[in-house]
Subunit: 213 residues, 2 copies
């Protein structure tokens, strides 16, 4: 069966979003710094249609994170708002006509809405009946490939609590947000039931990968 | 002035001790696994008077952590109890006559007690008038060398809250304790005021070093 793969950035003090998180500022105060390491990368710039950029130890990790993904699940705050999912301010700009997913995306929400079909193969389907339903729909749509769990914090924690995450890449950023939303909070002893399989130290980030034992 | 250097192991979910922490079990349930990476190391075994062991990427980090230290400050739970500061069960055994510090150690406690002079140059002085006093005494005793802050969780957090830590090595262990005592908790936005200076990925641990900017 296709795997559910969580890809998320976390501060060393455990926050995946800073304080005062809302729809217009989904990463909260300081949260954009969770992605400082990715913006200079050539692999990231290429996704935005830009040339140039750096190649470093993060490059193969980012490339692998996008490989063999046939669908994405995300929380409502990841879908819309004033900044992008990586914290860049031009969200509405690049999101606009041709989102960088190029596959079906399932958005967890309480508000029913018609599917949104974009250029380049990205469709947004809004799921109101819970995380299991969204995952089922994403797995069907992924045509045998894996499903990406793109965050945000609440969606990621809900899937972890339900033990539905098969692979997890924690992009650990050595900063302190001081407050905000934790990923690993009240999950209880023995959860998540994933084991560490490799570490990649890169400029401004350490990539820690976990899998089901 | 001599630096205060914090050296502590933390799980990826942010705990420096597991749940049900007490004097007899200072690392709490599962907390001993925070130190699984250190026991096989030759540099650790040598400290215990044992031969053999591994040399890997952690070796120079552990060696550097012990260099230029003239005194140690620790919390009460680190000083006594049923297991050692690294979680090994034979605490009372190796602690006994010749502790591995070989310099003055200042123990934070609420209970006055006469100093304890051991073989090999280790003396334990019990400080009842707070963290600043313990640090002052340790700095005086260190004869110009640095002071090691050896934990546990509460002592480390108190010194961080007071912005008294000059260097910090977080030995990040890719496990989940699920519950217990956090190091970075309620410190507030902008604290600790330390910046990342280097990362070393090693078997079973990632060493993340921070300094005052």
């Amino acid at each position: 069966m296709s795997k559910l793969r969580l890809w998320i950035a976390m501060s060393l003090d455990g926050f995946v979003a800073g304080p005062a998180q809302d729809v217009d500022n989904p990463l909260g105060v300081g949260g954009m710094h969770l992605h400082d390491w990715v913006f200079p990368l050539a692999v990231w710039r290429e996704m935005q249609g830009l040339e140039g950029g750096e190649v470093n130890e993060s490059t193969p990790v980012v490339e692998a994170s996008m490989a063999d993904i046939g669908a994405t699940v995300m929380g409502r705050n990841m879908f819309g708002g004033g900044t992008g999912p990586w914290g860049e301010p031009a969200w509405n700009g690049w999101w606009g006509d041709n989102p960088p997913y190029h596959h079906p995306v399932f958005v967890l929400t309480h508000h029913p809405r018609e599917p949104l079909v974009c250029e380049g193969g990205t469709t947004f389907t809004f799921v109101t009946d819970g995380i299991a339903s969204a995952l089922d729909q994403a797995r069907t749509a992924s045509m045998g490939k894996d499903v990406s769990l793109a965050g945000g914090a609440l969606a990621a924690r809900q899937y972890l609590e339900a033990d539905l995450v098969d692979e997890m890449e924690i992009n650990l950023v050595p900063i302190f947000l001081g407050d905000g939303e934790r990923l690993f909070d009240n999950l209880g002893v023995g959860n998540p039931r994933l084991v560490h399989v490799r570490t990649v130290a890169a400029p401004g980030v350490t990539h820690l990968k976990f899998e089901r034992p």
